[in-house]
Structure formats: structure tokens, C-alpha cells
């Protein structure tokens, strides 16, 4: 097990290095290069030369790349052109919001998707099955940002059941410990603050959950159908094991294996959806920040965030692989 962890950690290094090269090339390929990106279109030649010298852009490419890499390793990614704050600070401030949103979305997707897929497979061809299959096909095809917009228009603006933007009602004086507002409220005993934060989470989390929910439902259904046809399920049934035991121990446990992998994959993919959802609800996480960074052409923020997100994605997948080897003994043998 330890050897597996170490080997996988070592495999991360070339991937992340390669990513840094890609990002470095990208930064240098931006229209007019980094200097123009910083100065805007109306810069004079002299301004440009001055900035380029200050940034070391007149030096050979490999020296520049070395410096870029060194700053990356020191988590120094420059200063956001929108806010004037260091990119790393902005990232750590926004990250908990996105994690909170992503985790909520994943909980919804798993809590609804797994049972739905399971019962759809058990009653194949029933109205439940048909609804689950067509619903999940539709779920993939609705643009996330449009769904977010619809939810907001109906449940926040028209019906007024949920707040329409932000993570917290302004004026609520909540203590901040971890940056996860719901958790903070529970930890400090400020239950009204926790409730307020939870209400703010509902609509964005629902919108964000749509695609993972659709995929998890379909995968669970397919997986359960496959396991139900296996010989060992028939054997278990014919030797007189109770229904609960066969379903719980033989069917569900084996059927959930591929779902674990899918959950890991989807967690990484959630970030794309979060950019869209958060900007609709002005949620104040990484997604909202990236949206404004795109609008404002804030390249230090874009580069930094992309690097961190890719690193987070790679680490999440590593964790999923390890979890998988814990659940499925066959993987460990290899």
C-alpha cells in the first residue's frame, strides 16, 4: 500500500511539471505577451521595455521558465490586477466556498443518484426506470448555466423560497473559523447562521449537481444490471440467502465499485460547472473569481488558479485511486 502511494506521488511530478510548461507557454503566447496584458493597449514602447526589463522578459526563455517555476513552488503567483491582492491569498479565500458548494452538490448527486439508479435497475422497464433514464439523458443535455438561471428565476425571484445570490445574508454576524460557512455555524453554535448559509447553498448546489446526478444514476443502473446477471448472485439466491443479504452484500457492494471511480472523476469535473454556477449566483468562490478574471483579463489570477485547480484535480484522482484499491482487493495485486 505504501509503495503504491509513493509510486503514485512520484508520477504526479512529471504531470505537474508538464502543466507548468504548458501554462508558461500559454502566458507567453497571450496577445502581445505578458507586458501588454499588464499594461493594456495604450502602453508606449518605453513603458513596455521598462516592464519587460522589470519582469525579466528580456532574458532567455529557459531562465524565465526557471524563475516561473521557482515562484510557483513558493506559491508566489503575483498580484491580481483586479483586487491588488496576492493571487495565493485570493485563492485560499475563495477555495472553501467552492469546496462547500462542490461537496454539497456531490452529496445531492450520490444521495439521489445511487438509490435512483439501483431501483431503476431492479424494476427495469417500470415507469421509475423510464423516468430515471430519460431524466438522466436530459440532465446531461441542459447547459448548467441555463439550469442555474432557471432555478434562480423560479425559486429565488418568483417564489422567494431561497436567496438569489451570495453565500450569506449581509448583516449576519457569523464567526469564521474554517471558511465553510455551514460548518462554521454548527461549530460555533450559531445555528441561524448555519441555516442561512445552507439556504444559500441549495439552488447553486442543485444546479451544479445536475450533471453528476445524471451520470451517477445511469452508471449505478448499468452497474446493478450487470451484477444482477452474474452467476454469484444466482448462486447466493439459490443457496437460500435472505434477500437483504444478497442485495446488500452481493449486488450493491459489487455494483458500487465503478461508482467510486466515477465520483472521483466527476469531482474534478465539478470545477468547470462551478465556474458557471457560481457566476450565476455570485457565489464568491473560485468560479465567480475566474469569471471576473476572464472579463477583466486578469492573467496572473487565471494562470495561478488553473495551476492550483489542476494540482487539486490530480490529487483528488490520486485519493480516488487509493480508495479504490482499499475497496477492490483485485487492484492491489497489480
Amino acid at each position: 500500500m505504501l509503495r503504491l502511494v509513493v509510486r503514485r506521488l512520484l508520477q504526479l511530478i512529471p504531470t505537474l511539471l508538464g502543466l507548468s510548461v504548458l501554462l508558461f507557454i500559454w502566458l507567453n503566447r497571450l496577445p502581445g505577451g505578458p507586458a501588454a496584458a499588464m499594461l493594456g493597449e495604450r502602453a508606449t514602447e518605453a513603458d513596455r521595455a521598462r516592464i519587460e526589463a522589470a519582469l525579466g522578459l528580456d532574458q532567455p526563455v529557459w531562465v524565465q521558465y526557471g524563475r516561473f517555476l521557482k515562484r510557483l513552488s513558493e506559491l508566489d503567483l503575483g498580484v491580481s490586477t483586479q483586487t491588488g491582492q496576492p493571487v495565493w491569498d485570493e485563492f485560499t479565500r475563495a477555495f472553501p466556498a467552492t469546496v462547500e458548494l462542490g461537496v454539497s452538490a456531490m452529496i445531492i448527486a450520490i444521495a439521489v443518484g445511487v438509490p435512483l439508479g439501483y431501483f431503476a435497475a431492479r424494476r427495469r422497464g417500470s415507469w421509475l426506470d423510464v423516468t430515471a433514464v430519460s431524466g438522466s439523458l436530459l440532465g446531461i443535455c441542459i447547459p448548467v448555466f441555463f439550469l442555474a438561471f432557471l432555478l434562480k428565476a423560479v425559486f429565488a425571484v418568483q417564489l422567494g423560497w431561497f436567496p438569489s445570490f451570495g453565500r450569506q445574508t449581509t448583516g449576519i454576524d457569523a464567526t469564521e473559523i474554517t471558511g465553510f460557512y455551514v460548518l462554521d455555524g454548527l461549530l460555533t453554535g450559531e445555528f441561524d447562521a448555519a441555516w442561512d448559509a445552507a439556504m444559500h447553498l441549495v439552488l447553486p448546489a442543485l444546479a451544479l449537481a445536475s450533471i453528476p446526478l445524471a451520470i451517477i444514476t445511469r452508471m449505478t443502473r448499468a452497474s446493478v444490471l450487470e451484477v444482477l446477471g452474474e452467476d454469484y448472485v444466482r448462486t447466493a439466491e439459490s443457496k437460500g440467502l435472505s434477500r437483504q443479504v444478497v442485495r446488500g452484500r452481493h449486488v450493491l457492494r459489487n455494483a458500487l465499485l465503478p461508482i467510486v471511480t466515477a465520483v472521483g472523476l466527476l469531482t474534478g469535473g465539478l470545477l468547470s460547472g462551478a465556474v458557471l454556477t457560481e457566476s450565476v449566483f455570485a457565489f464568491g468562490g473560485i468560479g465567480s473569481f475566474i469569471k471576473t478574471a476572464i472579463d477583466e483579463r486578469d492573467y496572473p489570477v487565471l494562470v495561478g488558479f488553473i495551476m492550483f485547480i489542476a494540482a487539486a484535480y490530480v490529487v483528488i484522482n490520486l485519493l480516488v485511486d487509493l480508495a479504490y484499491s482499499l475497496i477492490d482487493p483485485r487492484v492491489r495485486v497489480h
Binding site: 512529471p14 504531470t15 508538464g18 502543466l19 504548458l22 500559454w26 503566447r29 497571450l30 496577445p31 439523458l137 436530459l138 446531461i140 443535455c141 441542459i142 447547459p143 448548467v144 448555466f145 441555463f146 438561471f149 428565476a153 425571484v157 471511480t261 466515477a262 472521483g264 472523476l265 474534478g268 469535473g269 470545477l271 468547470s272 465556474v275 458557471l276 457566476s279 475566474i290 469569471k291 476572464i294 472579463d295 483579463r297 492573467y299 487565471l302 488558479f305 488553473i306 485547480i309 489542476a310 484535480y313 490530480v314 484522482n317 490520486l318 480516488v320 485511486d321 479504490y324
Partner: protein, 317 residues
């Protein structure tokens, strides 16, 4: 990272194995099952209608998509919009242009985005994946080394969230519809590459390859004449599915402000992104293009899923 790749590899393996016991060829069998699949028929019908609209749309549109009609009636700043009426079936948009005509003309652009992006992903991805797979099948130390290097790069691309990859590309190329097509297409490259390579790898160990080797068929001929054609079915499935994703992702990029800033050329994604600004006073302006996108994406997804089922040897009767 490797979980994602494993999933794609497994998909490739599943759809690529060709055990023909009935004697009918994989394609004949798949076609028979596709015809009897309700999903496939509905999907094909939707796609058919969409393609027809995309072709004839610009000719049958009652108005020019850029003509500003009855300008005084639409006052965006006062939230006054013109709804559906006899001469404008879907009303007028925020610049007093006929929404129905714009939907008709926009279908062609939307189809174009899907096709160009998918073609780009397919061509480059299949070339890279095919070369990598061929190198692996041809064997030898060099082949394996080439495969390792290529796949590392592909895995790196897979490690970036697709939308961010697209955003990075769009930032370099500037705002235009071409940018969106390229950005969405590049995102598809690693998926196609991984898929084709995985399928070729699965074929590499099969009996007919061994037989061909035993007969002394040249390695290049085995790779290109035997392994490659038999590995294409997962790629074809992915092409269909990718048309749906491309259209949706293009809409997302437009929403993020990276699409075509020139709204004179209507495209459903751009129309949807623009209409959301006036959602409170004219929600239907967003609903029309959204419905167009959803139904079209659904058509491609239905057909793709049906094809996947038809080609899955496990489900063959």
C-alpha cells in the same frame, strides 16, 4: 487522472472486442439492433430535423437575422419587449430583430460549431491515438517509449478541467466563433486519442492478430489493416456524443464572454448568453435558444448511447 483514463480505456475495450459467434459482421448486427432501438430512432429524427433546418433555415427565414424591425417598439432600457405575434412568431429580440428568423439562421452556425469542433478533436485525437496505438502494437522498445511519452501529454490535457482548457485557448486566440470551435475541439482531442489507443491496445492481444503474425503478415499491415479498422467503433460512438458536448460547451464559452462578440451572426449559444441579461423582462428570448440546444444535444446523445449499446458485444443476443 488514471481513473479517467481507465474509464476511457475500459470503454474502448468493451466496445472494441469483436467476438462474432453468430456469423454476422459486427456492423450488420449493430445496424440491425440500431434500427430496432427506440432511442436511436428518436435521436436520428431529432438530428434529421435539426440538419434540415440548418441547411434550409437561412433561405426560409422570413426576415434577415440582422434587420432591426419596428425599432421604436423594443425599448431595452425600459424593459419593453415585443412578444410573439402574427408577423413575428417568436417576437423580437433586444435589438428588435425577428427571433424566429434568428433561430432558423442560428441553427446552421450551431451545427457548424458542433461539426468543426468535433472534426478537430476527432482528426487530431485519432491521429495521435492511432499513431500511439500503432507504435504500441508494432511493439519493440521504441514503440513502447513513443506511446508512453504521447500518453503522458494526453493525460496532462485530461487533468485540466475542460472549461478552463477552453478558456485558456480562447484567451490566446481572442473572441470569435472560430476561437470557440477550436477551444471546444482541443478539449476533445485527448478523449479521442485515449479512446482509439485503448481500443487498439485491446485488439492487439486478440487471436486474429496472433494469426496474422503467425502467417507472417507485415507488422505495419497488421496495425493499419487489421487492428485499426476493428478499433473504430468506440471512436464513432464518441463522435456522436461529442457533437452534443461541443454544442453545450460552446454555449458555456459564449456565456463566459469568450464567444462571438458580434451578434450579427446568430448562434444559439451566443443568443442564449445574450438573452440572459434580459431574463427578467423577456425570459422566452433565453428559452428558445436553450430549448434548441437541449433538444439538439439530446438527439445526438440518444443516438450515441443507442450506438454504444448496439456495438457493445456484451448486449448482443
Amino acid at each position: 487522472m488514471s481513473t479517467k483514463t481507465d474509464k476511457i480505456d475500459r470503454l474502448a475495450e468493451l466496445t472494441a472486442s469483436t467476438e462474432t459467434s453468430t456469423g454476422a459482421s459486427l456492423w450488420v448486427e449493430a445496424w440491425r439492433r440500431l434500427k430496432s432501438s427506440k432511442m436511436a430512432v428518436i435521436g436520428a429524427c431529432i438530428i434529421g430535423v435539426f440538419v434540415v433546418v440548418a441547411i434550409v433555415g437561412p433561405w426560409v427565414a422570413p426576415y434577415s437575422p440582422t434587420a432591426q424591425l419596428w425599432r421604436g417598439e423594443v425599448l431595452t432600457n425600459q424593459n419593453v419587449f415585443v412578444g410573439p405575434r402574427a408577423e413575428n412568431w417568436l417576437g423580437l429580440d433586444h435589438l428588435a430583430r425577428d427571433e424566429f428568423s434568428r433561430m432558423l439562421v442560428g441553427a446552421r452556425q450551431t451545427l457548424l460549431v458542433g461539426i468543426v469542433a468535433t472534426l478537430l478533436g476527432f482528426t487530431v485525437g485519432a491521429l495521435v491515438g492511432g499513431a500511439s496505438g500503432a507504435a504500441l502494437v508494432l511493439g519493440g522498445k521504441v514503440g513502447r517509449r513513443i506511446d508512453t511519452v504521447v500518453m503522458r501529454v494526453i493525460d496532462m490535457m485530461l487533468a485540466l478541467p475542460s472549461l478552463l482548457l477552453a478558456v485558456s485557448i480562447a484567451a490566446v486566440l481572442g473572441q470569435s466563433l472560430t476561437t470557440v470551435m477550436i477551444a471546444v475541439g482541443v478539449v476533445q482531442i485527448p478523449i479521442f486519442a485515449r479512446l482509439l489507443r485503448g481500443a487498439m491496445l485491446a485488439q492487439g492481444g486478440s487471436d486474429y492478430v496472433l494469426a496474422a503474425q503467425a502467417l507472417g503478415v507485415r507488422k505495419r499491415r497488421i496495425a493499419l489493416g487489421h487492428v485499426l479498422p476493428n478499433s473504430l467503433s468506440p471512436v464513432i460512438v464518441q463522435t456522436t456524443l461529442s457533437l452534443a458536448t461541443a454544442i453545450i460547451e460552446a454555449a458555456a464559452l459564449s456565456y463566459l464572454g469568450l464567444g462571438n462578440p458580434d451578434s450579427a451572426v446568430p448562434e444559439w449559444g451566443v443568443m442564449l448568453a445574450q438573452a440572459q441579461r434580459y431574463f427578467d423582462s423577456a425570459p422566452m428570448l433565453a428559452v428558445y435558444p436553450a430549448l434548441g440546444i437541449i433538444i439538439t444535444a439530446l438527439g445526438f446523445t440518444l443516438l450515441g448511447e443507442a450506438m454504444r449499446e448496439a456495438l457493445d458485444p456484451k448486449l448482443r443476443s
